[in-house]
Amino acid sequence: MPVILCRNLTKVFGKTPALDKLDLTVDEGTIYGFLGPNGAGKTTTLKILTGLSQPTSGQAWVDGIEVQPNSRHLQSRIGYLPEEPSFYTWMSAREYMKFVGRIFNLSPGENDRRCDQLLELVNLEEAAGRRIAGFSRGMRQRLGIAQALINRPKVLFLDEPSSALDPFGRAEILETLNRLKAEATTVFLSSHILADVERVCDIVGIIDQGRLVIEASVDELRRRFARSVFVVEFEETAPAFAPLLDALPWIERVHTEMGTEGARFSIRVKDMVTAKQELPRVVAASGFTLRRYETEMPTLEDAFLQLLGRKDSNA
């Protein structure tokens, strides 16, 4: 059953189109990664789905409820972390959490428990009594994540949840998301940190200029868009190696980096199977001292860059 459904969602700011007939379906219990270049319309979509902004046309449903601006029915079952979370800075972190808990009508005891639990989850228990005014960007993002979870939302909307987090924070949030998924929470997150998306998201949707370009699982995207690239490094500068490869039919392109310390070849191939068998032989026959030999893991970034037709990465 789809938990998030967008039909022909369109949003125009003056003359700027932000969303152009966006169709989107997210199933229950998935972690959905919403990607796209700057200005693609990710934040706009999240704002509409959380009832903060009105679409110019089109409809959307979240957990079976039609999305209406400021609909309390909808808002009581979602959690939302904005792109730049902003708090009443005269409050302490704990006070803000309690305030949010009261909005959701938690009983005082439940509210206390929930606040402590979540502040601990985002590692803010020590700073909980301090005024938010003195919080760093990452601390604010942590608090933003904690407040979005207070009502045990059915659907969690996160706009770039890890953009300001340190590596520990990122690992923690990914772990939290996986745990939420186990509790059947649907997570809809936008991000530019593709490594994170790869690690947690089941499905990825890529949006560009307000339209969905593709929607697929991370594995499928990798398979479809991964460049087949081998990396070979020699101890010596090996000028004779590239011409050796150029003659072979299964080679597509070779990118050479020569240094005083040796040489690095990024080799893109047409036929992965043949390459896997043949390339080691070519390397051995070349007589150079091998330092490193590997197949580059295909990444989501490759898919992203290729799909959106921006400049190719290093190969």
Binding site: S53, E84, V100, Q147
Partner: protein, 247 residues
């Protein structure tokens, strides 16, 4: 109802924690004490040799205090209210709150009620100081009339609050909101003596307050009725305007 209670609790706490309540009370207290003191020691402050200072009465002192409330109190109200919604929208805190099950109505009403309460506290403290010192240094200004007049002055400030909140809900720039509210309040005050306006304009409310203080009672009930009607209407307009905003 529940969210209004939560929001109101929060706004009241803000009035306290941001020292708004304290500052407003201090300002009113200063004028409350200052006005009778000034009138009493005017002869010391301005040594009269060539001319004779008139003898001031309790009525003069009260009249002066009320017009101070109308002017300084109005400016303070605008300063306190102009950013009340605008700055929350600008900073993004409104989006945080309104993405949760809190209605725009509760959001705005809580702010209005909290600021009105702060102004009430200020008005009470100021009036108490003014009454006491006028009583001691001059004469009894008449507790009932004095209280009623101050109540009306407070209603005037509440009207200024609702007007400023309307503009604060419309503009993201709080100076624009405050500026427009100021211009309108000044125009209302300047035109308060004209025909129809004298009978129905909120700008004439302070004239009625003065009349009450002087013991002449309210001359135009239409002024009071119009103001009391306009306050909820302005809030309703604020709700209507803010509901349509992108957060």
């Amino acid at each position: 109802m529940h969210s209004l209670r939560v929001m109101l609790h929060n706004e009241l706490r803000y009035q306290l924690r941001s020292y708004r309540l304290l500052i407003v009370a201090a300002v009113f207290f200063l004028f409350g004490l200052g006005t009778p003191l000034l009138f009493n020691y005017l002869d010391v402050l301005i040594p009269a040799e060539d001319f004779v200072l008139p003898e001031f009465t309790a009525t003069d002192v009260v009249e002066e205090y009320l017009s101070t409330v109308a002017q300084v109190g109005m400016l303070a109200t605008i300063l306190l209210a102009m950013g009340i919604v605008a700055s929350e929208r600008d900073r993004g805190t409104a989006a945080m709150t309104l993405s949760k099950p809190v209605g725009v109505g509760a959001f705005i009403l809580a702010k209005f009620l909290a600021l009105s309460a702060t102004l009430a506290a200020g008005a009470i403290v100021g009036a108490a100081g003014a009454y006491l010192y006028t009583f001691v240094l001059f004469d009894d200004p008449g507790a009932g009339n004095f209280a009623a007049a101050n109540m009306l002055a407070w209603v005037y400030l509440v009207f200024a609050t609702s007007l400023t909140i309307l503009f604060s809900s419309h503009f993201k720039n709080q100076l624009a909101a405050g500026g427009l509210a100021l211009v309108i309040l000044i125009v209302l005050a300047l035109t308060s003596g004209l025909v129809v306006m004298r009978e129905f304009s909120p700008g004439a409310l302070m004239t009625e307050a003065q009349s009450l203080a002087a013991g002449a009672g309210i001359q135009n009930w239409g002024v009071v009725a119009a103001t009391l009607t306009l306050i909820p209407l302005l809030l309703l307009a604020a709700w209507h305007v803010f509901r349509k905003k992108e957060l």
